[in-house]
Assembly symmetry: C2
Homo-oligomer: 197 residues x 2
């Protein structure tokens, strides 16, 4: 089962590599791949240069598409090529996970309309404005609506990734992954201590 | 001030990119760079391909050298070229941070001899055997001895990176960085709930 991580310039480092660490522990279950609109090396402001493949080459029905946040989302919400491909690939995926302001990109595709979602508590108003027909939840650490998982800021993506594993494989399975990486998992998706004002 | 991250095949993803997220928030203070023994693309088992520069091109006196862990350390402890360069570059750095089994590589250089250190609680015996003259602490989340910071497994590297910021800039400075990434920081370096048997 392929897990596709979508990168773009100035993605947020941990939004991607927190979940990569978690799903990457389960290489017997998942194959991790990295994509961007045009493929090639993608950089961010932390100086991390990662090799990616073209997004259009992702398999027809990926198991999971993960969309990170980061300052790059401010630009990419106005990139119709990327939003169009997100709509197509997210629509075809069994599951879609967004971290932080990655939810703004998914919201722009229209796929979150009428759904429950959350996002970074420090960029809430901006993300809300990108998806006026989405039911945004200001309290959740992460939110699940059908196949769509949306998380709060940065490290909340790790909590959500573990929550996703718990939903698929049971809580003890997820707890064991958290234990292996010596991570203090926040298990409660409904309460975030970093709530929006 | 340059922060140099050392990569090698099969480094652990989060050991690197957790601290990258934390130090990367402070680009007015720090420049992040990525190195490997021979430079070029470095891959790990999670499929993350990162572009690096040659380790010998690191500045003469880097501010901070970070050495991650991961399964690759099992091979690299027997790579005299890498251990020799670690000895030289770590010796010249103002600070050296290791995450997880990265401490085994630093121990092999001899620079930890007679010092306090810790490591991954799930690989403790092996790391101990790589540094028989190191005073290994089985209880610490991370350990500080002079310029050497060594942390427990994977996500403990993030706690240590925040602890490093607290030591340099004060606890409120570090708490603010944790808040920005909505991270539930384990502030107490002396007690790890993932202790070794």
């Amino acid at each position: 089962m392929e897990i596709a991580f979508l990168l773009f310039d100035n993605y947020e480092t941990l939004d991607v590599f927190g979940p990569v660490e978690i799903f990457g522990r389960l290489t017997d279950l998942y194959t991790l791949k990295f994509y961007s609109l045009d493929g090639g090396i993608i950089e961010n402001k932390h100086g991390v240069s990662v090799l990616t493949e073209k997004l259009e080459t992702v398999s027809a029905n990926p198991y999971l598409l993960l969309i990170p946040g980061g300052m790059g989302t401010r630009k990419e919400v106005d990139n119709p090529s990327l939003i169009g491909q997100i709509k197509e690939k997210a629509g075809a995926s069994s599951y879609v996970l967004t971290v932080c302001t990655g939810s703004a990109l998914l919201a722009r595709s229209g796929l979150l309309d009428g759904r429950q979602a959350t996002t970074n508590k420090r960029a809430f108003s901006w993300v809300e404005s990108m998806g006026p027909n989405v039911n945004w939840d200001k309290k959740a650490r992460w939110k699940v609506d059908d196949k769509y998982y949306t998380s709060s800021g940065v490290s909340a993506g790790m909590d959500m990734a573990l929550g996703f594993l718990a939903d698929r494989h049971g809580i003890e399975f997820a707890r064991n992954v958290a234990f292996e990486i010596e991570y203090n998992w926040i298990e409660d998706k409904d309460n975030d201590s970093f709530i929006a004002e």
